[in-house]
C-alpha cells in the first residue's frame, strides 16, 4: 500500500486505491480502522512508511560496541512504549511497526543508518542516538531529509534543531537547581569540580562554575581526566588537601567505576558531612557497574529515579519488569527514551497527520500526563519542561528522592550569562 501514496501515481488511481483500501477495511469490520478523515492520503502527504493500518518508525541505538552498555535501556524503553501504544489502539488507528538499526558505537554509522532509515525505509520518526557525538553526526541527515529524531539523553545544550525533540534535560535544568539545593540545605561553601575530558562535562562545569560564582561561593579545584582514565589516587589526594565541602562530578564510563571504587578505598565516605558528593553522571544503570556499596551516601541530580512513588511510575516500572525481566533497572535516560514514542503519538494525533512539517507546528505544548517522571510538556525549543530531582544513593543501588523542584523547570539550551 505504500506505493499508493507516492506522488508519481496519477490522482485518479490514488483515489481509487484509497477507496479500495477503505472498502477493504470496512469489509474486514475492524473496530480500530482509521476513520474516514484519517485516510492514508490525507495523513501522509510526503511518502512516509504509513499504510492504512500500520506506520513504521526507526529505533537507532548501539547494540554493539562501547556504548551498548548505556543504550540498551533506551532501546528497551522505546519498545515498551511502542507496545503499549499499539495495545491502546496505535496512532491514528495504525499499529506501530519498528525497524531497528545498530549504531555500533560508531558516530559515522549513526549518520549512515539515519540516512537508511529516512531515505530507504521512509520511517515516520526515529527514536535514537545517545551520545552527543552520535547526535551531532546524525543531525545533518535529519535536517537534510526532514526527519524527526527523539533524543533521550541529558546533554550539554547549545543546540536546537526543529528536527529533534530532546526528551532529556539540558545542562541548566540538571545543574542549577541542584547546586541551589546543596547550598541551601547543606550549607556548602566550597566546590571541587571533576569531570571526564569532553564537551558534556566541560560545558556542564562551565555552567556550574558561573552559577557558583553568582552565589558568591568558591571553586577550590577543577579537573578533567581523559576518557577511560582508571587511576584517581592523585586527584583523591588533592581533594584531601583542599578539603572542599562538596565534589561536583561528571565522570563517565569505565572511569566512573574506577573513581568511586578508589575513593572508597582511600577512606572517603560520602555519608560523612564532608566532602559531600553531587554527581550528574550516575543513574541506576551506572550503579550496576560501580556497586551500590561504593556509592552509598552520594547525591545524584537527575529528573527521574526508579524509586519515584507516583502511580505513573509504579505502573511503568511494573510493565518494564514484566517485559524485560525482574532484575532490570531503570535510569534517567531510559525513562526519557520511553517518553519519545508517546510525545510523537500525541503530536501526530493533534496534527491529524504524520507529516513532519505539521508535527513541528504542533509539538510545542504537547503534554504527557502519564509520564513516569510526572508531567512533562514540550517547549517551543523542543526540549521538555521537567522537574529537577536529587536522589541519595542507597546501598541497594536505588536512590531516595530527597529533593524535587516545586515547579517544572524551563529548558534553556542557550543560557545567557552561562557561556
Amino acid at each position: 500500500m505504500k506505493s499508493s501514496t507516492t506522488s508519481n501515481i496519477p490522482t485518479w488511481r490514488r483515489a481509487l486505491l484509497v477507496s479500495a483500501a477503505a472498502f477493504a477495511v470496512a469489509q474486514a469490520g475492524l473496530t480500530q480502522a482509521a476513520p474516514e478523515e484519517f485516510a492514508t492520503s490525507v495523513v501522509n502527504t510526503t511518502g512516509l512508511a504509513v499504510t492504512d493500518d500500520t506506520v513504521t518508525v526507526g529505533i537507532l541505538h548501539s547494540i554493539t560496541g562501547t556504548m551498548a552498555i548505556s543504550e540498551t535501556g533506551s532501546t528497551q524503553a522505546e519498545k515498551l512504549a511502542i507496545k503499549q501504544i499499539n495495545e491502546s489502539g496505535g496512532v491514528l488507528g495504525r499499529q506501530i511497526e519498528y525497524i531497528q538499526e545498530d549504531g555500533a558505537s560508531d558516530w559515522p554509522t549513526f549518520a549512515e543508518k539515519s540516512r537508511k532509515l529516512l531515505v530507504k525505509d521512509k520511517v515516520a520518526a526515529v527514536m535514537g542516538c545517545w551520545t552527543s557525538a552520535s547526535r551531532k553526526a546524525a543531525l545533518p541527515v535529519f535536517e537534510q531529509y526532514n526527519g524527526m529524531l527523539f533524543y533521550p539523553t541529558f546533554y550539554e545544550g547549545l543546540e536546537q534543531s526543529p528536527n529533534v525533540v530532546y526528551t532529556g534535560q539540558e545542562a541548566t535544568q540538571q545543574i542549577i537547581a541542584s547546586i541551589d539545593w546543596v547550598v541551601k540545605t547543606k550549607g556548602v561553601k566550597t566546590f571541587y569540580l571533576l569531570g571526564s575530558d569532553y564537551i558534556w562535562p566541560r560545558t556542564s562545569m562551565k555552567i556550574a562554575r558561573k552559577h557558583i560564582a553568582k552565589l558568591g561561593l568558591k571553586v577550590v579545584g577543577e579537573e578533567y581526566y581523559p576518557l577511560g582514565h582508571t587511576q584517581f589516587n592523585s586527584v583523591i589526594n588533592k581533594v584531601k588537601l583542599k578539603k572542599p565541602d562538596i565534589i561536583f562530578a561528571a565522570v563517565v564510563g569505565g572511569s566512573n567505576v574506577a573513581f568511586y571504587k578508589q575513593v572508597k578505598a582511600a577512606g572517603i565516605d560520602w555519608r560523612k558531612e564532608k566532602p559531600l558528593m553531587l554527581t550528574i553522571s550516575v543513574t541506576e544503570d551506572e550503579v550496576l557497574g560501580i556497586g551500590g556499596e561504593n556509592l552509598v551516601g552520594a547525591y545524584s541530580s537527575m529528573k527521574y529515579f526508579q524509586s519515584l512513588t507516583n502511580g505513573n511510575n509504579e505502573s511503568f516500572v511494573k510493565a518494564f519488569k514484566e517485559m524485560w525481566g525482574e532484575d532490570s533497572v531503570i535510569g534517567d535516560v531510559t525513562q526519557a527514551a520511553y517518553l519519545g514514542p508517546w510525545i510523537w503519538k500525541y503530536a501526530v494525533e493533534k496534527a491529524g497527520s504524520f507529516d513532519i512539517d505539521k508535527l513541528k507546528e504542533v509539538l510545542p505544548g504537547i503534554e504527557v500526563t502519564t509520564a513516569p517522571e510526572g508531567y512533562v510538556k514540550v517547549h517551543e525549543n523542543q526540549h521538555l519542561w521537567s522537574k529537577a530531582r536529587i536522589g541519595l544513593a542507597r546501598e541497594d543501588g536505588q536512590f531516595d528522592v530527597v529533593f524535587e523542584s516545586e515547579e517544572l523547570i524551563e529548558p534553556n539550551p542557550f543560557p545567557k550569562g552561562y557561556q
Binding site: Q231, N233, G254
Partner: protein, 308 residues
Amino acid sequence: MFDGYTGSELMAIFAMQGFAGLILFSVLVLMALGLAIIFGQMGVINMAHGEFMILGAYVTYLTSLFFETYLPGLSSIYFFVAIVLAFIAAASLGAFVEWALIRRLYKRPLDTLLATWGLSLILQQTYRSVFGAREKGVSLPDWMMGSIPVTDMVEIPINGIIVMVLTLLITLSVYFIMQRSQWGAKVRAVVQNRPMAAAVGINTSIVDRMTFALGCGIAGIAGSAFTMIGSTGPTSGQLYIVDTFMVVVFGGAANLMGTIASAFTISQAQTILEFFMSGSIAKVLTLGMIVVILMLRPQGLFTLKIRR
C-alpha cells in the same frame, strides 16, 4: 599552590602521593608483564591482551557469585580462589588461541597484530552476548575495600597494598621461571636461536604455546586484581591496552627489567605531574616525554643483545 597549608599537611600529602605513585607502578607492571613476556620472548604483538584481562575479571565475578550462593561462609577469601581460576581460564584460552591462530603466523609478525586485534573484537562481542552489555559490579569482601588510617590525613588503601603484594609475587615468580627454571632456560634458548634449540631436542612449538599461555594467564590475574580498582564490562580491557603497550615499548620489548624500569618511570612522572596540574595535561606531558625519549632511543630503555 601551597599557601595556607601546614607543614604536617603537606608532609602527609606527599606521603600519600608517593604511595599513589607506587600503586600506579604496581598496576602498570601487573598489566604489562604478560604482554612483555609474549612480545619480548615471542615477538607477537597481542592486541587482545586487554580482553584476556577482562576474562580474568569475569572469572572473578563468576567466582564471587558462586561463593555467595554456595559457600557464603568463605566469601571473605573467595578472591584468592578467583585469582587462581582467572589464571587457569586465561592461560587455557591463551593456549587454545596459540594453537588455533598464532602459531600459523609466526613468520608474519605484523599479521599477528591484525589477527589478535580481530580476536579482541570477537572476545568483546562474546562477553557482551554472554554477560550482557552492562558492566558487572563485582562485590568484594569488606575488608578489601577499606583503608588503614595512619594519621588523620594519611590513609593507606588496602586494595593498593594487595595489588602491590600481588605484583611483587608475580614478578618474582616470573623472574624465577624465566631465569632459574629449566623451562625458562628452554624459552630463552628458543628466543636466542630457534633452529639450534630445536636441534638440541627442545620442542619449540610446546615452548611457544606455554609461553603464550603464561603471558595470557598473567593478564588474567591482572584483570582479576583490577576488579578492585576498575570496571568489569565487555570493553573494559580497552581502558588498559594503551598504557600497557606504552610500558612495554618504552621499556624495550625484550627485557623484563626494562618493563619494570619503564613502569616506574611512567608512574612516577604521571603521579607527580597529576598532582601539580590537571589530569589531561599530565597525560599529555607523560606521553610527550615518552615520545621524545623513544625518538632518541628507539629500542627503548633496556635492550637485550641477541643473535637473530
